[in-house]
Symmetry: C4
Subunit: 232 residues, 4 copies
């Protein structure tokens, strides 16, 4: 057993979850898992189909982007992961997919309005969608700047990444995160489902309004915080 097998195994299983939950075709998604004690993270190799993944192919890097273990190129989105891990110490896994309805909303450059309690069970705000990046950022360190775009959007809109564990990068697609890799993939599945429900709602009734704050707070607090009573 190698030194980093624990996060590599978690990373492998989490990436297989992308396929299991139909969150991306081919290789269009990646999950990473960080070990905060050792400051290294494991991530999917770039362009490798989920069916061909195994623990040896997972790449381990430090937070400067140096490869610590692994013989393959890490995901081309690696720098986005690094930026988020550096800025948000409370998150330990990141999941990026191209799930269909989430991409549909991201391409529309619209936040996903909080239309119901399935949404409020998970966050009290609209699902944020960043605006398109400035040309200079695109032409610069693009993947790192994707992380900058997300973090700045959260700062500007006073969003807390511990509560709002998902973001649509405008014109691109969804990133989700969590305290571990179970939660980051879970959030990607939930995001896709909320995006599909919101699409249907908007098409049934274009003038639909957001639900009110009391209902949002009730549902969110059932599942989160000291007075939560959902689960075991």
């Amino acid at each position: 057993m190698c030194f980093y097998d624990d996060i590599k195994l978690k990373c492998l299983e989490a990436n297989l979850g992308i396929k299991k939950h139909s969150l991306a075709i081919f290789t269009f998604g990646n999950v990473s898992v960080i070990d905060r004690e050792r400051n290294v993270f494991a991530i999917k190799p770039s362009g490798v189909p989920y069916d061909e993944l195994n623990i040896e192919k997972i790449v381990v890097l430090d937070l400067e982007g140096n490869i610590i273990e692994g013989f393959l190129n890490p995901s081309s989105d690696t720098k986005t992961h690094i930026y988020l891990y550096n800025k948000w110490s409370e998150i330990n896994s990141i999941c990026h997919t191209h799930s269909t309805f989430a991409v549909g909303w991201a391409q529309s450059l619209l936040n996903v309005p909080i239309y119901g309690t399935t949404h409020a069970d998970h966050l009290t705000k609209d699902i944020p969608c960043t605006s398109p990046m400035d040309d200079s950022l695109i032409k610069g360190n693009y993947e790192l700047n994707t992380g900058v775009q997300i973090v700045n959007h959260f700062k500007k809109n006073k969003l807390n990444p511990k509560e709002v564990q998902m973001c649509l990068v405008g014109s691109h697609g969804p990133f989700t995160w969590g305290k571990d890799e179970i939660e980051s993939v879970y959030n990607s599945v939930v995001l896709e489902e909320i995006c599909k429900m919101a699409f249907i709602t908007k098409k049934i009734k274009p003038e639909v309004k957001r639900i009110k704050k009391t209902l949002i707070d009730k549902h969110y607090k059932r599942k989160h915080g000291k007075d939560s009573y959902y689960g075991q």
Copy 2:
């Protein structure tokens, strides 16, 4: 064999039906089954994935909400189930899901209009959607008040829960019920299909009208009542 194994087993199989019929992701749905003789009901434990359910994990409660058997917390929606069982003695199972198109309609706060015979095979009315709860009800005994909301909506609109075995809770999602757990889950599947068909119909022809009473009655009575002739 334990004392309540009959309803626990029925409850287990019914909850597995939520996954089998893709009526909810993760743990977003629950079925209960009541034993009217003993006045106890079995319900899914809160937050447990369907794949991890077994008969030991099913929780048995009385109609005051006391746990009679089981070591896990019951579904957070348990009080909604209790309220409905107390008010409607004719129902013996309740199924709550977050199926996608049913939630879409619930979030739009619209009744699902009776557009065709698939709908009329099951009920003669629009599928009711309750209005959002008052703030005081939300802040109070929320899950019990969800039951109040459903029962009051039925009273106010003179709906009979023996005929209309489904309700959309506005901004939330569907509840269905029936004479047994086979029927309550069946009704959740049928509801989702009717909601999808109604969505498609409305998008093809926004000005579509409800079908006429003669056709509704014909189809409903083929399957229900003393002159029914569907089935064996």
Copy 3:
């Protein structure tokens, strides 16, 4: 081996095709197969799930509706099948489903316009949708009158059931037929796919027009008639 096992077996396999191709939930569809020499047909029993079907449960009737073989009630739609078999001697199997997009169009009471070559590969006309039945017909021999509705719609619109092997019964759903049970089920699958494609097309471009006659004829004649050259 019983006397009617040939058509019963064909009927069984064709009904299993409804489930295989996801053309109906639960028991919401039925296929029949006729033996034109003996003037008897085999049909699905009413209300029996596809998973529980076997050859013994298939019902054999004559064209007056007398049960010749079988211990179960035949499909409640049996008289529709009988009427069509009596009127259209060229068809040897009928398939009725509640497939989702076909029902969506049927509920909108609109013909499905011929928007592309997938449609023209199978028929040169819009897919017909009958108008709702008169009250007297609904209150009368309803299932037989469903057959009357279809046949009259074809007569009035000069449609040939040998070419147009499908019909949407307005507010209800699709019926398809063919020279054998392979073809009748095939037509139900094709109908659902054409209905879904037409829905998408209409939503992308509401003002979309039908394709022109030269293109329709070219595609139809590639697959049908003496100059066809599709297949082996």
Copy 4:
């Protein structure tokens, strides 16, 4: 082992990919693979279901359309393949399907606008949709003229088939190609996904605009050309 078993095997596996990826029902799609050294190509036989395909049933032809090996009629679309192989020496496999959303766009006679980075990862232009063929071309050598229609559309719009590896034939459906049969089928899957995403985006926000050139170029060049850094 026969002389052409290499391309026949590739062709077989690629055609099975149509079914695996749900790109067509029944027999509504075909893939071919060319051997540029010997100037022969292997193609699916006409009208044979994917489940019944085997290596013996694959047909090998030369670029004049003579059958070199095989006892079945080749795909009725064979001449389209031949025309494209003759005109575009850089492509070695062609895949034609009737995938649902791609056909939806083809039937709307609209290019698929470049709404996001999933699209830009694969091409920098809108996905082209040819206009309907003139009557004389339809009545003439139709399948060959389908190839003419594609090639002329690319010439007129200055599209490079090495970059834009997909085309919607107006009112009909998609053709994709690539350097090998892995790529041509891959492109059909990607095309369907982009078409679905674009449909959702357009329905969420009808006034949505194309993404800007800097973002298109960034994503395209991540995956293509000398400075690409995606994959291994």
